[in-house]
């Protein structure tokens, strides 16, 4: 199983966590109901203590092993310094304003792009969003440091950019509109409908 973008991952996550949430609420509710009953209660399953602890260890560690293998941007992030991207974009930010490349960013499907973002003053965030508001990716932008992220785009899209970290109210005008929002910051083209080349 591999997730080709955040939408697939977050849909999966939504389903799994919702099932879990209903499960844990039901277990405690069942438990509470039976705490007051005088007659003997038959356990649905008997979980030995060490089995339970092993389950927790497997879930805690296995979760990371699973995501390392199923989410492509994890290994890409760890090994990014040994990777040559198809294109690199340098972006600067300061005084709540982006200084962006002069030409529009258009990415071909399957290309790996490096974004190098640096801040002159405050801590910002670098986040790409689809037109429906869902997040593609984000990172923190720490002042005085190199903040780079490598990303392979597998689906067509028209993405907006904004700061994902609070950097003071100056990010907005008095009406509350986000002044750091860059509409149609970049486009990905050339993918099939299903997201493959």
């Amino acid at each position: 199983m591999t997730f080709s973008n955040s939408l697939e991952l977050l849909s999966f996550h939504w389903v799994v966590y919702t099932i879990y949430a209903f499960m844990i609420i039901s277990i405690v509710a069942w438990f509470g109901y039976n705490l007051g009953r005088k007659e003997k209660v038959k356990s649905i399953v008997r979980i030995p203590f060490y089995g339970y602890m092993a389950f927790l260890v497997i879930m805690g560690v296995g979760h990371h092993i699973f995501t390392y293998n199923a989410i492509p941007w994890v290994s890409q992030d760890i090994t990014r310094h040994n990777t040559k991207p198809d294109a690199r974009y340098k972006i600067e930010v300061g005084d709540h304003k982006w200084r962006l490349p002069k030409t529009p960013i258009i990415v071909q499907c399957g290309q790996t792009i490096a974004f190098d973002v640096s801040s002159d003053d405050l801590t910002y965030g670098f986040g790409l969003f689809r037109q429906d508001g869902t997040m593609v990716l984000q990172m923190q932008v720490d002042p005085g440091h190199n903040n780079d992220i490598y990303w392979t785009f597998n689906h067509n899209g028209d993405f907006d950019l904004t700061s994902t970290e609070y950097s003071g109210p100056a990010q907005y005008n008095e009406e509350g509109e986000d002044l750091m929002l860059v509409k149609h910051f970049m486009k990905v083209v050339g993918c099939d409908k299903g997201g493959k080349q």
Partner: protein, 561 residues
């Protein structure tokens, strides 16, 4: 008794019958619930703003960024320190002498503690209200000293307020340790070493070790009761956290005062990432050290008081508290998984692997509590038991949500979204922590108020269900909005994430209503006269409770009906 008489005099509450320890406990608790109301109103204002100008029936000023983020800055300060800290400190100030059968080290210091935290919280809130000082609780460098956006005076008032809270915290810590280490009563013949070994849970670990080797237990009767061990252990993190927050506060204060004096120091002289690591190391001790450990200790205490039986697997629980010492100090990097300059090894080891251990330690606490309750069945479904189960559900939901986001893959699309603050933080605090604390309130109520009859059991039930459903619902809808891309520290003024934000606001209203019902029930029980009487000097200066006569808290006369 008429409604008016009830409102003025309460049921059968007599503040003059309370001793000094009971009064100082109730003072902190009263302030905690007043601040809780403030924080619930603040939260509702923010929830309403997120539903959009077109929907929210609130004044236009709340949509202005200065106002909105000032509320967002005050909200966690009032909630965590003004309310949660006060409630926890108040409860533990009573419980440590009660459980150790020793007097509290100093009533005067306990009074200073709640006073300093109350005044400090009020100052921090006022700085946000009057000057719109709004660097948020994370204080990411150099935002708190960005005088282009914020007033220096506002910043100074805010930081002094936080410093007072930390001084109050030190007062609490000193009082707790001085009480635990006092060699009087049952600890008359104990050495400091014995108390330290017990406080850190080392005796539990050695007992387990000896059992594995087929030897006699290291200690058949540990020097400290298990809940006191949890308080002792959690207070270590409270101390370290206070040092870090105070240190950051001094740094910000020095810059602001220099700026006010015309000296514009280079903000880049402080490395933003190093500061972030330092600050999160301390701040995370509140969440992953203090809260989880205090909560585990509270669960153990409540389970034993409710059942009247010994805790299941007590040695394992003691050893787990020792393990949590190592875990809570090494997990801060999960807050920096989206910081690209942060070393990858720190992300992997501290951010992911050690953090995953929290699933183990908290899962263990949940297991031990549930089995202790199960072994004592059938149990009467009292309010304290209901709330305890609610607290277990809260952490059962919030801890895995936290472990999920402490992952390099998921954090890339969850960091700083409403998922973090909704599904994880708010469910952990509102459902997990507060329901545990409400359970403690109901257990301690007859002891601390000298068997005052609660005004209405029905209102207690209404509070329980509204709080539980409202808390889980609000966290869930915020979490769903986070998965749809909604950021947590961002201003949305057009209801971009409706209808999820409308549902979250409805659930938030339930929480606010729950608080109002709870407050009404308490005021009607103690009466306005009683409420004022709590703050009057105690006629009985006794700094302990139950040393001469034993009281069984599980036999709760307030709910006998």
């Amino acid at each position: 008794m008429s409604w008016k008489e009830n409102l003025i005099n309460g049921t059968n509450f007599n503040p003059d019958s309370l001793n000094a320890l009971q009064k100082v406990t109730l003072r902190a608790v009263v302030m905690a619930f007043l601040f809780y109301g403030l924080v619930a109103i603040e939260g509702m204002i923010m929830r309403m703003v997120e539903t959009g100008k077109e929907v929210a029936p609130i004044p236009e000023m709340f949509f202005h960024p200065e106002h909105f983020f000032a509320i967002m800055t005050a909200h966690p300060i009032v909630g965590i320190f003004g309310s949660t800290y006060q409630l926890v400190f108040g409860a533990f100030t009573f419980l440590v002498p009660y459980l150790t059968k020793k007097p509290l080290y100093s009533i005067k210091l306990a009074n200073w503690t709640w006073l300093l935290i109350t005044v400090g919280t009020a100052m921090a809130w006022f700085a946000a209200f009057a000057w719109h000082y709004a660097p948020l609780y994370t204080l990411y460098w150099p935002l708190p000293v960005d005088t282009k956006q914020f007033s220096e005076v506002g910043g100074i008032v805010f930081i002094v307020g936080v410093a007072l809270i930390m001084l109050g915290t030190f007062g609490f810590i000193y009082n707790i340790y001085a009480t635990i280490f006092a060699r009087v009563g049952v600890h008359k013949d104990k050495t400091t070493k014995e108390l330290l070994i017990s406080g850190f849970g080392i005796d539990g670990m050695l007992n387990l070790f000896n059992k594995l080797r087929g030897k006699q237990p290291y200690s058949k009767e540990p020097a400290l009761a298990l809940p006191v061990v949890a308080i002792f252990r959690g207070t270590v993190d409270t101390f370290l956290d206070a040092i870090v927050i105070l240190g950051a506060g001094v740094l910000v204060l020095v810059y602001l005062i220099a700026d006010l004096g015309g000296l514009h120091w280079d903000m880049n002289a402080i490395d933003a990432l190093l500061y972030k690591n330092w600050f999160w190391w301390g701040l995370d001790l509140v969440a992953d050290g203090l809260v989880l450990i205090y909560v585990a200790g509270s669960w153990y205490l409540l389970a034993t008081l409710i059942t009247g039986q010994k805790l299941f697997m007590e040695n394992v629980a003691r050893a787990a508290l020792m393990l949590e010492l190592l875990v809570s100090w090494m997990v801060w990097s999960h807050h920096l998984l989206s910081d690209q300059p942060q070393p990858e090894m720190m992300k992997l080891i501290s951010g992911e692997m050690v953090t995953a251990f929290e699933l183990l330690t908290q899962g263990l606490a949940l297991f031990i509590t549930l089995v202790t309750l199960w072994k004592a069945r059938p149990l009467k479904m009292t309010m304290e038991l209901k709330y305890l189960l609610g607290g277990l559900v809260g952490f059962g939901l919030a801890v895995p949500a936290g472990i999920i986001q402490a992952d390099m893959g998921l954090n890339r699309v969850l960091h700083n979204t409403q998922w973090i603050i909704g599904a994880h933080v708010h469910i952990a605090i509102i459902v997990g922590l507060y329901m545990t604390l409400y359970s403690a309130v109901y257990v301690l109520w007859p002891i601390v108020t000298n068997n005052t009859k609660l005004y209405s059991h029905k209102l207690s039930n209404a509070h329980f269900w509204l709080h539980l459903i409202g808390g889980i619902g609000m966290g869930a809808f915020m979490g769903m909005a986070g998965l749809d891309g909604m950021l947590r520290r961002h201003l949305y003024v057009h209801g971009e994430f409706n209808p999820l934000m409308i549902f979250a606001a409805v659930c938030g209203t339930m929480l606010l209503a729950a608080w109002a019902i709870f407050l009404y029930n308490i005021v009607m029980s103690v009466g306005i006269k009683g409420l004022v009487g709590i703050f009057m000097p105690a006629k009985d200066p006794t700094p302990s409770y139950g040393i001469d006569e034993e009281l069984e808290p599980a036999d709760d006369p307030a709910f006998a009906k």
